[in-house]
Amino acid sequence: MSDALGTEFVGRKGPYFWLSLKTGLLTILTLGFYRFWMKTRLRRYMWSAIRPGGHPMEYLGTPLEKLLGFLVAVVFLAFYIGIVNLILMFASFSLFAGNGAAYALSFIGILPIIFFAQYRARRYILARTRWRGIRFGLEPGAWGYAWRAALHWLATIATLGLLLPRQVFYLEKYRADRTFFGDKRLHQGGDWKILYPAMTHMMIGAIFGAGSLAVGSTSHEAFLFLLPVFGLWFGYGFVHFRVQTLRLLTSHKTLGGIALKAEPRTASVMKIYGVGYTLVYTVVGGLLFALFILLFASIMTMIGSAGALDETFDVELIQSMTDTPVWITTVLTIMLYFTVFLMWNVLSQVFIGLPLTAHYAQTLSVLNPQALTAIRQRPRDEFAEAEGFAEALDVGAAI
């Protein structure tokens, strides 16, 4: 055995496109019911495409357990959301004469539940993931995660983002230290301050952006032109932070003598985003344009054929065409909406989701794989609720 196992990625855009198109279409036709099947199938594909040391990951979640978990979550959340929303709306309009307060309060009220749901979703996904036949797992601890996440967010906001690395590190450490592969526990090493260098570009963007806004709005208006530059710089810095924290955190993870090494590159991720979004916008835009042309052409043909029949070409004819089919245009609009929505989802899965996963997979290696010999299976975590809360709240819903 060599000293490091590299990771292959065998997913391809063609098959993944058809799979997500097919399942996405079924989801729309079933008013969202098929989404549990869609998510399961897309995950099975994506997991099996990632092959550390040549052995595919395996996803074993089932659609029906997701549906069950969702139903359980609906029973509990429906009360909470229905009643709480109504009371908040009432309170907000009685006390503040506006709905801003209601939305803000309702969002803040739901935040701990969102953190809770995210942890539970991760537990479900890890419990249904295997590699070399061995299960991953995550210890229960969702409420502990929820209040920690809420406090870390408060601290980060209070310090204008200066404590962001601390938040990212400790939340990841909380999750990682409760993660298992077989009977061995994962350990998040390192220190939160190692994440600071990754923040450099974000800081430059934020500080100089704020500076040029301050100078520009008070004395020298020309400085305002710098604002978009630093805005973009901040955007780049944000991606850089995400990629580099992932790299640093992963490379400081160990598990029973095994270590991980991640080497994702910000430039590659930026390129994937750039090319991906350009393609998605172009194709969806092109699709819209084609539909528009089609519609225009059919109207023109109708007018043309009316003219050929020697009918008088007058305003009334056009009037009758623009007036009558109200329900036709309504149906067309709804179909158009769904088509655009579907294509948007499918294409961003194929041109952004897949290449990103490929990049992160291909830059990941497992060091000292000899230690895998000592790993034994862990028992199955039944966890009937699955990711129901996350599904119902639309968080962590991406595959």
Binding site: R12, P56, L68, L71, V74, V84, F90, S94, G133, L393
Partner: protein, 374 residues
């Protein structure tokens, strides 16, 4: 893959696969041979095992174009990965039930929770939320209702817009607005309203009018176009004031705040949610306002009589709604809350007593109102 020939007499090359026993993280290299009824896995040392072909299952949705990941029916952990294309082809031809899925488990629990979920959502949307909305609406201070109305009005203007750029414009020609103000003054003369009315005409072809929280009464230009007599508009106007006085719009707004959240929960984000939410919500509301509509009609005929305006205008307007409803398949009209128009026509006609009536507007004023959007 290196092909290793053992001995000189074997015509078939040996094929190996990776066996994952689900106990240790170590793939075991086994020789894979296919017989008429079994797949035989032979490790380098130790006993070989026979997997019956009828029990072989393959994992679906796998990314690798040619690898085959096999398992045995009833065994959730053991896996065999075969990479040799020729062998994969042979196994796929020989094993007939590769695609068979394990039987559904937990059917009872699934059904139980489905019933529980439907029951709890129904309870909340149809019982709890309406009951709470009815109660809370009476406690809303007028300033709060006004704010709610302002917000909703802008949302509706944006939602009804066809062009996708600007909210639907408000019509306010000087003479038209004056005529509308006169009608308002006549109708509200004898009324004790919690707040002054805000009357608006929207430049939209829909044949309808509606009330919003905080005293909003909104007409669509389409309604003004089809009306042939000012008393018809006065009738609709009085009807909408009836909703305002009963605080129906505030109930509706509070109610939709509650039920919207729950519906959002159910449909998830499978299509941005917005369109489905809007339609589902409309259906619920149309069902909800039956009693409220009836009460508004009774209020309207009384108010019209007090103001010295013939309630027959209301009846004519309903007649017109019915005629139009019969001829234009306007999808949206089904969603607008207007239950059994016939009985309302009859009630309005019955209530038109022999009292002396004056038209709600003069001919000049009526023409000004009809052209308020021009």
């Amino acid at each position: 893959m290196t092909l290793i020939h053992v001995g000189g007499d074997t015509s078939e090359p040996q094929v190996f696969g990776d066996l994952l026993d689900g106990e240790r993280a170590l793939p075991q290299r086994v020789e894979v041979t296919l017989t008429a009824s079994h797949l035989t896995l032979t490790p380098g040392e130790g006993a070989s095992q026979d997997w019956p072909l009828s029990q072989l299952r393959s994992q679906p949705d796998q990314a690798h174009p040619s690898d085959l990941m096999l398992s045995l029916a009833g065994d959730p952990v053991t896996r065999l990965v075969v990479r040799d294309r020729e062998m994969v082809r042979k196994i796929e031809a020989a094993a007939k039930s590769l695609g068979k899925r394990p039987p559904t488990q937990n059917t009872g629990r699934l059904l139980g929770w489905s019933v529980a979920a439907v029951a709890s959502v129904a309870l909340i949307i149809f019982v709890l939320v309406p009951a709470m909305a009815n109660q809370l609406a009476t406690f809303l201070p007028p300033s709060g209702e006004k704010a709610l109305g302002d917000t909703t009005f802008e949302q509706i203007r944006n939602a009804l817009d066809d062009s996708g750029f600007d909210p639907v414009p408000i019509c306010e020609s000087t003479a038209g607005s004056a005529a509308l103000a006169k009608m308002e003054a006549r109708l509200t003369e004898n009324l004790d309203l919690p707040y002054p009315l805000t009357v608006r005409v929207l430049d939209h072809s829909m044949i309808n009018a509606f009330a919003l929280p905080g005293g909003y009464v909104v007409f669509f230009d389409g309604l003004l176009d089809v009306a042939q007599d000012p008393d018809e508009i006065a009738g609709v106007f009085a009807h909408e004031i009836g909703h305002v006085v009963a605080r129906d719009p505030s109930r509706m707004a509070l109610r939709s705040a509650g039920s919207n959240g729950v519906l959002g929960l159910l449909f998830g984000d499978f299509a941005g949610g917005a369109v489905v939410l809007f339609l589902a919500e409309r259906l619920i509301q149309a069902n909800y306002s039956q009693t409220a509509e009836m009460n508004a009609d009774i209020f309207a005929s009384e108010t019209l009589e007090k103001a010295g305006i013939s309630p027959l205008g209301l009846a004519q307007m309903f007649e017109r709604f019915r005629e139009l409803g019969g001829t234009t398949p306007d999808l949206l009209e089904h969603f607008m809350a207007h239950p059994d128009l016939m009985s309302r026509i009859e009630r309005a006609e019955a209530s038109a007593s022999a009292a002396p009536f004056t038209p709600s507007l003069t001919d000049v004023e009526w023409q000004a109102l009809k052209t308020i959007c021009d």
